[in-house]
């Protein structure tokens, strides 16, 4: 045995546990889901598969609820991702300056991220109650109040607000770490050239942070496309009122476990995976063009 081959074998042996784990828990389920999506699966009272080709996929086109779920999810992504990214950037910029007590603020802002999303959702539902904290506050300011949970026009926006509040701080920390990596000398040079705070932020900080922004946006898009727990708890699993909080993953859950229609649910999951993949590739085109060269 040559030396290279020996090294190769021992390398693969060290990787075996990982390959095994990822294989069993990631790769095989993905392949299996793909296989299921091409079948009509009967689960209760004897398991049966019937190959039906792409029928599950064509069925999605004719499924009103799938279209609503897709629309809701897209709307959610389009609003939440930009808002939470900007908010994270601004919060990070604020905490990167020399304000008093910035360490305390960093901890306070980061708190929502460490709290479980199920707990957050329940606390928010309590605050969104028609007689709850938010409406009391709004009516104190003589602003209009809403039925945050039961009004179909508002319900999804309630979830958006909650999610932005909960995830922005996480990305803020990432931005903050990246900002502290930017050399002071760049800012000093800009100060000498007479740039003000805002100009430094727009022309130095934001461009340098571009790779980080790419990461934040990609993670944000993936996370928001997979919205499930908040809308599940909000609507008690139904996606109501009037399908307004129905998301793709919630629909997949409903088909998979309420109707036990695994084939169709898998098809929806594959479609969702493709959508996320395409959106990510598009983003890479946008952000990936110019790379930072040190």
């Amino acid at each position: 045995m040559s030396k290279g081959m020996k090294e190769g074998i021992s390398g693969y042996l060290f990787m075996t546990p990982t390959i095994f784990t990822i294989g069993v828990f990631v790769v095989i389920p993905i392949l299996y889901a793909f296989y299921l999506s091409l079948n009509d699966v009967q689960l209760l009272g004897g398991i049966g598969y019937e190959f039906i080709g792409l029928e599950n996929y064509t069925r999605t086109l004719d499924d009103t609820r799938a279209m609503i779920a897709l629309k809701n999810t897209a709307e959610y992504v389009l609003i939440v991702v930009p808002v939470q990214t900007c908010l994270a950037l601004l919060l990070a910029a604020a905490l990167n300056s020399n304000i008093r007590g910035k360490n305390a603020f960093r901890i306070i802002f980061f708190l929502p991220t460490v709290t479980s999303s199920a707990v957050l959702t329940i606390i928010f539902m309590w605050m969104y109650n028609p007689d709850g904290l938010i409406n009391t506050f709004l009516s104190f300011l003589s602003l209009p109040t809403y039925n945050w949970l039961a009004d179909p026009d508002i319900a999804l926006k309630s979830i958006m607000i909650m999610n932005i509040w909960a995830t922005a701080p996480f990305f803020m920390v990432i931005y903050l770490a990246a900002m502290q990596d930017i050399s002071d000398s760049v800012y000093e040079a800009a100060t000498i050239d007479g740039a003000n705070w805002w100009q430094k932020f727009i022309f130095i900080t934001v461009p340098i942070l571009k790779p980080v922004t790419f990461f934040v946006v990609v993670m944000g898009v993936i996370g928001t496309f997979q919205l499930f727990d908040q809308s599940y708890i909000f609507s008690g699993g139904s996606g109501g009122p009037n399908n307004s909080t129905l998301t793709v993953v919630l629909l997949i859950y409903q088909y998979a476990f309420k109707s036990l229609d695994m084939g169709y649910a898998s098809a929806l999951a594959v479609v969702l995976a493709f959508i996320i993949m395409i959106v990510t590739i598009i983003q890479k085109k946008f952000f990936g063009e110019e790379k930072l060269h040190d």
Partner: protein, 426 residues
């Protein structure tokens, strides 16, 4: 050196593989067969209930274990999403031997063949004829009995005596027209902000709480092919009154008043009348004990008495390995003795006529309205596709109630979507 590295790699790998595989193969189930005199364990699964109910069930099970010393009952409560959990377990072959099944889900589950038909277990002593027919038939498909109803509840009108007095009203409304007038008088907006502080009527918008109005108008939830068929003119006629009342802000959903359900809304005084089931009685007793209220049969719909009945049965898992013991448990729980203990406090009503007569709920001032409803109640059930139909109805009906679309549009849309889904899934 090299050799050592390789040895280490092999060692670590095999250790990890070993533990991972050991996890999969530890399936050493003991045989569940009931050989003579041996202790047999029967698993029983149900959903969560109030502490009072839990105590009663425990008492019933204890009595069963005492009279059947060789059978041990393992009771498990599935707290959330009961049917989802149950179906998943049935697929995995891990479901309990005996479990609760709501009449609403029964046709769909019976169709798949995961339930054991109980006809051959029934003895004369068990006295099937004692059960009320509509409730028994809710679990009978293709002439096979798949479960015996453990109890039931009908809907009745709860009304706040104090609010009635303040509004100068006496006695419950008898018809839906009268209900509307009453609700109008009972709606109070103290601070004049356009949002009533006390609504006349609190109601639930779900199909389960609305379907009973269709029949008196000659409308139906489903047709003979088990497809949705509620978008008829007659159904619109039946459902329009409640939509109008909601629009005029004299009736409201629990969520409009920031409450979870009708009982809570009524207890908190945010509705002077609610249409709720028997389960509201113990809730009010333990949470709003000073509430002065009365119950009455539901107002007549189109001149006919109508109400809904909700019932749940004990059914047997076809894959159970202890079927005889499981039957012993079912026959005890739904038998005369067990049912008497279980329904003795009136949390739920007995499905056996003899038990109902013995316990005398037909004379109880609060409960007699529910008992009276039993004779003309329509069980909440409409074929195997009801879960899909229900989901679509609820979704669209809500938007009709909110005034986003007309009732006609909402029902049409719900029916179309439901039937499309039914067709696609079959």
């Amino acid at each position: 050196m090299k050799f050592n590295k390789m040895l280490a790699a092999v060692g670590v790998t095999s250790m990890l593989m070993g533990t991972a595989l050991a996890g999969c193969s530890s399936d050493s189930s003991g045989d569940g067969g009931s050989s003579d005199g041996e202790q047999v364990t029967v698993e029983l699964a149900g959903w969560g209930s109030t502490p009072e109910e839990k105590e009663l069930l425990n008492q019933t099970l204890q009595e069963f274990e005492e009279s059947h010393p060789n059978i041990k009952v393992e009771h498990e409560v599935i707290a959330d999403q009961y049917m989802d959990v149950m179906k998943t377990r049935l697929v995995g072959g891990e479901a309990a031997d005996v479990f609760y099944l709501d009449a609403f889900e029964a046709p769909g589950l019976a169709k798949t063949g995961v339930l054991e038909p109980l006809d051959e277990y029934v003895t004369d002593e068990f006295d099937v004829d004692d059960f009320q027919d509509p409730l028994l038939n809710a679990f009978k498909f293709d002439d096979k009995q798949y479960g015996f109803p453990k109890d039931f509840s009908t809907l009745a009108l709860f009304y706040d005596k104090q609010a009635f007095e303040e509004a100068g009203l006496e006695g419950p409304p008898k018809t839906w027209d009268e209900l509307r007038e009453y609700a109008d008088k009972l709606t109070v907006d103290e601070d004049g902000d356009g949002q009533p502080d006390q609504y006349g009527l609190g109601f639930s918008s779900e199909l389960a709480r609305q379907f009973y109005k269709l029949h008196p108008y000659g409308a139906k939830v489903t047709n003979e092919n088990n497809e949705a068929a509620f978008a008829s003119d007659k159904a619109i006629e039946a459902l329009q009154p409640i939509v109008d009342m909601k629009k005029d802000k004299i009736a409201a959903l629990p969520s409009d008043a920031g409450t979870d359900w009708g009982g809570d809304m009524f207890g908190q005084g945010k509705a002077a009348m609610v249409i709720e089931g028997n389960w509201t009685v113990p809730f009010l007793e333990s949470n709003f004990s000073d509430k002065d209220y009365a119950t009455a049969e539901l107002p007549t719909v189109n001149g006919e008495k109508a109400t809904a009945a909700f019932t749940v049965a004990y059914v047997m898992n076809k894959q159970s390995e202890v079927k005889d013991a499981a039957w012993e448990l079912i026959s005890y729980l739904t038998g005369k003795e067990g049912m008497k203990t279980w329904t003795s406090k009136g949390l739920a009503l007995p499905t056996r006529e003899s038990v109902a007569a013995e316990l005398g709920f037909d004379e109880d001032p609060i409960r007699k309205a529910f008992v009276a409803g039993a004779s003309y109640a329509q069980p909440w059930q409409a074929g195997p596709n009801l879960p899909t139909i229900n989901n679509n109805f609820n979704n669209q009906f809500t938007s009709a109630l909110l005034g986003d679309q007309s009732l006609e549009e909402a029902l049409k849309k719900a029916q179309e979507t439901a039937n499309k889904e039914i067709k696609a899934s079959n």
